[in-house]
């Protein structure tokens, strides 16, 4: 059993009596792809924020490569090797695509030319090289999401935390995105993703974790989970799940195109 890369031990986050995350435990091993699914309001993004350091847990522990990181701020976690993207994509609008990725690359290399060249390589890897000099504000949604992945990749992370990176993309864009992620995974990157799109979950997960109302209610392989009655109940109970395998409407993610 390989040592865990990311380990969460009964983490909770309370907001004035609301248990947004309620004693959730999770382990991600190196090279794994783990998906987190669950109806809206299940606490998935809040849970993510506990992992990335934007929120501190009310109780419980978060460990990265064995080290407790409960109180480590987000920038230190990035340094340790955690890359993340945001549910509402956050490109640095006034900068070019290349400069966006350079921001990530600067973490490992201070000189401008080194950061620039490495950023260029990352852009090629994600297929955005031809847009290097385009202002990030002028990119399409699919390109922006790719850019955000690129920026995180430039950190040379060990694990990528993607928050609904497929939201708002059309069929073919989703397909291309999955290809990209699979390629990165093949090169050894570990993934922990939040996804609404169950097709993506099927195509790109080894293990699926289900959250509902802040609690961990199921965990298993993609097939097991997506056919599990408990999971279907959790979704149907909130009136969200369509026929098995189709999109769960990614409700107000508030994505600005």
């Amino acid at each position: 059993m390989s040592p865990a890369m990311l380990q969460v031990k009964t983490a909770s986050k309370h907001f004035l009596g609301l248990k947004a995350v309620d004693e959730v435990s999770l382990t991600v091993r190196p090279g794994e792809i783990v998906s987190i699914i669950g109806p809206n309001g299940a606490g998935k993004t809040t849970f993510f924020n506990l992992l990335t350091g934007q929120l501190a847990p009310t109780s419980g522990e978060v460990l990265f490569e064995g080290q407790p990181i409960n109180h480590l701020p987000p920038h230190a976690r990035a340094r340790l090797g955690m890359g993340r993207t945001f549910q509402i994509s956050k490109p640095l609008i006034a900068l070019t695509a290349l400069e966006n990725v350079m921001i990530g690359a600067f973490l490992r290399d201070a000189p401008l030319s080194v950061a620039r060249d490495k950023a260029m390589l990352v852009l090629e890897k994600v297929g955005l090289a031809r847009l290097a000099m385009r202002r990030a504000g002028d990119l399409t949604l699919s390109e922006r999401r790719r850019l955000e992945v690129a920026r995180a990749l430039a950190l040379q992370p060990k694990i990528m935390l993607l928050d609904e990176v497929m939201a708002g993309l059309n069929q073919s864009e989703v397909g291309q995105a999955i290809e990209l992620l699979q390629g990165l995974h093949a090169q050894g990157l570990t993934f922990l993703i939040i996804e609404h799109n169950l097709k993506v979950v099927r195509a790109f997960s080894e293990r699926v974790v289900v959250l509902d109302r802040g609690r961990h209610i199921a965990e298993g392989s993609a097939d097991d989970i997506l056919n599990s009655p408990a999971v279907i109940q959790a979704y149907l109970g909130d009136g969200h799940m369509g026929k098995g395998g189709t999109d769960v409407p990614a409700s107000a993610t508030g994505e600005h195109a």
Binding site: G53, Q54, P74
Partner: protein, 296 residues
Amino acid sequence: MSDLINVLMFGLLLGGIYGLVSIGLNLIFGVVRIVNFAQGELVMFGMYGSYYAYSQWGMSPYVSVFLVAPAVGLLGMAIQRLVIQPLHNESNMQIFATFGLLMMFENIMLMVSRGEALSIGGDVGAEVVSVGDMKFSLVRVVTLVAVTLITIGLHFFLSRTMMGKAIRAVTQDKRAARTVGIHVERTYLFTFGIGAALAGMAGAMLTPIYSITPTVGGNFILAAFAVVVLGGLGSVWGAYWGGLIVGVVEALAGFYIDPVLRSAIWFLIFLVVLVVKPAGLLGQVGAEEVGFREQH
């Protein structure tokens, strides 16, 4: 001991003035979510308007307030429509714009008045009310009473009338308000108008006791910021109690330490509140809006 009481009473009366000036600012911030740097200038306009009504037509400020306040209110609506609305998501440019308005208004009045300090003359301002052996300026007492009445009035306005409820809805959640059919931009317009009218009203009522210069607005704006933050953004009662507290603290500090320290007091209050309890005493608006963030 009687010194202390005197100081406290003075502080309360001063607080009444601050409350009056700050209520409009608070309302504007709570709803439109902008910091109106030019609020002090609207008070100044109220003062000048009231002064001219007095010197030209012999109108007492307590009468001309009914003309002056709506006039300043209209100016406020114009500002909202022409300057603020176009910049509605750009908080940095709003700073420039409202500060630019501050400079414009102050200096236009400077050009018009040629820097003369105007004063409405002693008779109204010198009246005192005696309680035991303590004497209080009548105008200040009236101001305190007025701000109390205004606050109560606003409270009912906000809780009982349609527009008032619309204002509260927009304060809490602009998007949700829109989905239930509230016309958000019109609410902004109206709120800015009320906020400006309140400032004009404050100016008119303070005319008897202040020497009117173009820079008089600057006297209030920093204190008003402290009051608004202390009381809690978007809360009318917050501005009321916040004003009283700031007035008392300032009076105490002025008496026991040094009157010159007023701006330091305001600033200290501002900073301490934002660090310790960003939502203020009665804040409607959450910490993110006020500006407090996790320190990383």
